[in-house]
């Protein structure tokens, strides 16, 4: 049946577009006929700013590339700068082992808080407000931890080229261990409340199925790719930091929704995020186990937390580096070009949300209008990553 088509503008102010995405939806009755995503409402020219500030000054801007997982964004950038400095033996930094471990620790904690927002917001988009409050409550615990650690709740500016800005505060390990225990209990409650909920499952099962080949072809990454059944995780497949020493398990979509579910539907992407929260809990416990005790000197190769990069950053080697990391929303890659000056010549950020957003025009036609918000929620698009 085909009637008159109607254009529906969704966003840029729409509570369910996770920021300022605008979708020009062409509807045929209740069914979406075509979608044109309109991005750029949060284009803050962060990549251009990268060419105007010094290497170390760009770290606070990486926080704002993805504020939901600022630690992971910090991590990707400092790894890229360190990879650049390693081109020349004169500027190569010896990153203390404790600093590497702390980085992975905070990155995994931030992954948990980011996934909590993702699953909570997805449930909210589908129409249940309470799960979001449960997720936010757990997120507060991570914020408290980071606030003790570096004085900020959201944009941390914690990692520096050469290590981290501060060592772990006294009692941090006990605080983290207590939080993990509470989180595991809360996840059981959350699963009872949302994951096992028949309405929620029916809303997500079999909706917006992305096959494995399709997901690879469209360049999806992170939980969206794994939700389609592709076991690809840079923490395991191209390890950075101390991930190589950890046993990273990669959960993938397996048609979790049961009879009506299919591999790569909204429910699979949602469940993969929940499983990754539990995987992060396991990784954090492992990191706490191999964290070297603090040393007296900040740049001690084992127990220090920061190697001095001041001199190296004054005259970094010329060249180009590409560093890929696994952020909560997929691959976060930094491509840096240096001409040997105090500032980057080019900073390029590649993020998982951008490719997921690009797929909307392909994925949404044919679905019911009410499923559009569920699909956006399941892809976990965060707009600063898209617009930058």
């Amino acid at each position: 049946m085909s009637g008159e088509r109607m254009i529906l503008n969704m966003g840029p102010h729409h509570p369910a577009t996770h920021g300022v995405l605008r979708l020009e939806v062409e509807t045929d009755g209740e069914v979406v006929a075509a979608v044109r995503p309109d991005i750029g409402y949060l284009h803050r020219s962060i990549e251009k700013i990268g060419e105007r500030v010094e290497w170390a000054q760009f770290v606070p801007y990486t926080d704002r590339v993805d504020y939901v997982c600022a630690m992971n964004a910090n991590h990707a950038y400092v790894l890229a700068v360190e990879a650049l400095l390693a081109h020349d033996p004169a500027t190569r930094l010896a990153i203390p082992r404790r600093a590497e471990a702390i980085r992975v620790l905070v990155a995994e904690l931030n992954r948990i808080s980011s996934h909590l927002i993702a699953v909570g917001a997805m449930a909210m988009d589908i129409g249940a407000y309470t799960p979001f409050l449960h997720a936010i409550a757990q997120r507060e615990a991570v914020n408290d931890l980071f606030e003790r650690l570096c004085g900020q709740r959201l944009t941390y500016n914690y990692m520096t080229v050469g290590g981290v800005a501060f060592d772990l505060h006294a009692g941090a390990e006990e605080q983290i261990a207590a939080f993990l225990g509470e989180l595991e209990r809360e996840m059981v409650r959350f699963n009872r409340l949302v994951t096992a909920n028949a309405i929620f499952r029916e809303r997500c099962a079999g909706v917006a199925v992305v096959g494995a080949a399709e997901a690879v072809a469209w360049g999806l990454s992170g939980p969206n790719l794994r939700g389609s059944g592709v076991a690809m995780d840079l923490r395991r497949d191209a390890p950075y930091g101390i991930y190589g020493e950890l046993d990273v398990q990669v959960p993938v979509g397996e048609a979790y929704a049961g009879a009506r579910g299919r591999v790569g539907d909204c429910y699979d992407r949602y469940v993969v995020r929940l499983l990754e929260i539990l995987e992060s809990v396991r990784l954090i416990r492992a990191v706490l186990g191999l964290l070297p005790p603090p040393a007296a000197k900040a740049d001690d190769p084992v127990g220090g937390f920061q190697a001095d990069a001041t001199k190296a950053l004054r005259a970094p080697p010329a060249g180009e580096v590409r560093v890929r990391t696994e952020a909560p929303r997929g691959e976060m890659a930094y491509i840096l070009v240096s001409t040997g000056g105090r500032q980057p010549w080019r900073v390029r950020v590649r993020t998982g949300s951008f490719t997921a957003c690009a797929m909307l025009g392909h994925l949404l036609p044919g679905v019911f209008l009410a499923d559009v918000v569920a699909i956006i929620g399941s892809l976990d698009i965060v707009l600063p990553e898209v617009d930058r």
Binding site: G40, L42, S45, R52, V53, V68, R139
Partner: protein
């Protein structure tokens, strides 16, 4: 609200109509759920269980037509600026605006460095309260709302019926002015 006369029977209050309206407005500031960037996450946390702004009568609304208060939570880019203005125009009077965080106040870390960011949302809409921070803590946001509530309490519904409330409310105190802005 006004006082109670001991000679009046129980449950009878004498007050000005303006005071009654202001009292009602002050305790039910419905805010527009409008988050553009990082501050939006702190706005969500403020609505969460720990800070719980529901207890102040603040409930998020998805449409500007039901909102009294617009909290600009995040960076406003040039592309977004006209949409912000449209949303503000769609709100019914009296309406208030809280500018949350450095970006909305002045462009923040992007003010000089970026070619695409509006240097302060007050370039397109009048702002009642500015909250510093990048992003401000939820406590800071609540504090800003408490400052705004004092202004709402002084709002005269009947007395100002014909005039633009934003312009006049800005004249009698210094909340509406911003240093360095003409």
């Amino acid at each position: 609200m006004g006082g109670t006369d001991p000679d009046l029977p129980d449950g009878v209050h004498l007050t000005a109509v303006d005071d009654l309206f202001a009292w009602g407005k002050e305790h039910s500031l419905f805010y527009l759920l409008f988050a553009t960037a990082c501050c939006g996450i702190e706005l969500m946390q403020t609505g969460g269980p720990r800070y719980d702004v529901d207890r102040l009568g603040m409930i998020p609304r998805a449409t500007p037509r039901q909102a009294d208060l617009m909290i600009i939570a995040g960076t406003i880019t040039h592309k977004m600026a006209s949409r912000v203005r449209t949303l503000w125009e769609q709100m019914t009077e009296p309406r208030w605006v809280v500018s949350m965080g450095a970006c909305a106040n002045s462009g923040g870390p992007f003010s000089k460095a970026s070619y695409s960011v509006l240097n302060g949302v007050d370039k397109v809409i009048p702002v009642d309260v500015y909250i510093p921070g990048c992003p401000p803590r939820p406590e800071a946001l609540i504090d800003g709302v408490m400052v705004l509530r004092e202004r709402v309490r002084r709002y005269r519904t009947l007395g100002l019926r014909d005039r633009d409330p934003q312009v006049i409310a800005g004249a009698d105190d210094d909340f509406g002015t911003h240093p360095g802005k003409a």
